[in-house]
């Protein structure tokens, strides 16, 4: 643990000085602030923000992490040549990437809400869950980036896979689900769709968030079917477990391939 914390600490120092992270934080500050200023009440702003979060976090986390890890490849080898265990180094690097990205995001989104005194006006629990889901997504996609980098030595290929993965989860997947729904619309397909939902961390995050809002109108076709299920305690538990598996799975796979 001591070694892991130290590695994470030094990496934190490196990353917090990078312009990338600064830009990422600034982006979220500006978007949140703009939405709060011009986007009507806190509720509406939160919903728009949610869509931005679900889109941007996976992309930035994946690309930033893969680029950073490929760049650090030789240095990671040098660290591995030290008397350090692989899993300690892995954990240190993982936390050293996921924590600054998470904290940066949470601060960038949270602070404008406090500044605009919008916390009180929005529904209770919505802002914390937005932050929580954002952080969870950051951990999921950092883990996926680790897996990609461990498996592919070729930088360009790795980056390509990262972007393809993002496209799949953020854009293509919903289209496929929709296609699936329209093909089998005459059948009772609630359960398979439920399974499909759990297979995409972004969809999962979206459902988890929409549960907090009182706007069923904004639920997509995919979500509408499942609202009933996800509103129950079981639904919440399943969602949380699935998100945790989405973090743990790639972490374990990445560590094995590391």
């Amino acid at each position: 643990m001591r070694v892991t914390a130290k590695i994470a600490g030094y990496q934190l120092r490196d990353i917090t000085r990078s312009r990338w992270l600064f830009g990422y934080v600034l982006f979220f500050v500006l978007v949140t602030d703009a939405l709060l200023r011009f986007g009507g009440g806190g509720e509406k702003a939160l919903l728009s923000l949610m869509n931005v979060v679900l889109f941007v976090i996976p992309l930035v986390t994946l690309v930033f992490s893969t680029v950073y890890l490929y760049h650090a490849r030789e240095f990671i080898e040098l660290l591995l040549a030290q008397p350090i265990r692989r899993h300690q180094l892995f954990a240190g690097l993982y936390l050293g990437l996921a924590i600054p990205l998470s904290v940066g995001f949470a601060a960038a989104v949270g602070l404008p809400f406090i500044f605009h005194r919008a916390v009180a006006t929005s529904q209770p629990g919505t802002i914390p869950s937005l932050l929580l889901v954002g952080v969870a997504l950051t951990f999921v996609f950092t883990a996926l980036a680790f897996y990609i980098v461990s498996r592919s030595e070729d930088r360009l290929k790795g980056l390509g896979i990262a972007i393809a993965l993002w496209l799949l989860f953020a854009v293509l997947y919903d289209g496929l689900v929709l296609l699936f729904l329209s093909i089998f619309s005459s059948h009772s397909i609630e359960r398979p769709v439920l399974g499909l939902m759990l297979l995409n961390p972004i969809d999962l995050a979206r459902v988890a968030l929409l549960l907090q809002f009182d706007v069923s109108a904004l639920l997509g076709y995919t979500g509408a079917v499942l609202r009933k299920f996800f509103e129950t305690t079981t639904g919440v538990l399943v969602t949380a477990t699935a998100l945790i598996i989405w973090i743990a799975g790639p972490v374990v796979l990445g560590l094995k391939a590391f």
Binding site: V3, Y10, D14, R17, E74, L80, P83, I84, R85
Partner: protein, 237 residues
């Protein structure tokens, strides 16, 4: 000190090490030479446990290297390519490595002054030139007074003065009983340092033995010519 037995490694379809067998004696300077892509770097990485061989074994002081990372505390490694976290300074980098070791580890910082790095310590690593980064790289290998030094192409990218300083340092440590493994694709570069030489070609050891003996038996003037002679004979036979 190092005993490698039939070490093989493939990357996909490409065979890099092919049943490589080599002994490295303690308190000697062993030069591993061979053309680019011969498998030199892969071999030293397997000693460090960075690459796991597909078959074969490597012993360090009589103990097979495995998942236990502790033996690496006795090795100082200077990789071929020096790339560091961009936004850290060299001073922070040294502090980090020191931090990762037990507190009582003695530290050798001679090379920082020897290579005139003192003024560069507080600058972010990304602003340093390639040669300066290579110096930082060298300092790191010597930092913890290891028993075994593995220097992968140590003089590549160094200016003649720095290269001389490094070679003097290697001689000093050798005199103190330390073991060295140096690699280079330019045979003549390590000639003045090497006591033992291993010529690696296509993942195998073409020749291994003391330099003096090699030069005597082949009656050649330089190591390069002696190895060429041995290789020619090998092809003929």
């Amino acid at each position: 000190m190092i005993a490698a037995r039939s070490v093989s490694k493939r990357f996909g379809r490409l065979g890099v090490l092919d049943e490589l067998t080599l002994d490295v004696s303690a308190s000697r300077i062993t030069a591993i030479v061979g053309p680019n892509g011969a498998g030199k770097t892969t071999f030293v990485k397997t000693i460090l446990g960075l690459t796991r061989p597909d078959s074969g074994s490597i012993e360090f002081d009589g103990r097979a290297i495995g998942d236990d990372a502790a033996y690496r505390a006795r090795i100082g490694y200077m990789p071929q390519i020096a790339r560091f976290p961009e936004n850290l300074t060299a001073a922070e980098l040294f502090a980090m490595l020191r931090d990762l070791r037990p507190a009582e580890t003695p530290v050798d910082e001679d090379l920082i002054s020897g290579l005139r790095l003192s003024t560069e310590l507080e600058k972010p690593l990304r602003t340093l030139s390639g040669g300066t980064r290579q110096k930082v790289n060298a300092v790191m290998a010597f930092l913890f007074k290891p028993d075994l030094f593995i220097l992968d192409e140590p003089t590549a990218g160094l200016d003649p003065i720095a290269s001389g300083v490094l070679k003097d340092k290697i001689r000093t440590e050798r005199a103190a009983g330390k073991t060295f493994i140096l690699t280079s694709h330019i045979i003549s570069e390590l000639e003045e340092l090497a006591e033992d030489v291993a010529f690696v070609h296509e993942g195998r050891v073409g020749f291994a033995g003391p330099v003096k003996e090699l030069i005597r038996t082949t009656r050649q003037d330089t190591l390069e010519r002696a190895i060429a002679q041995v290789m020619m004979r090998g092809v003929a036979a």
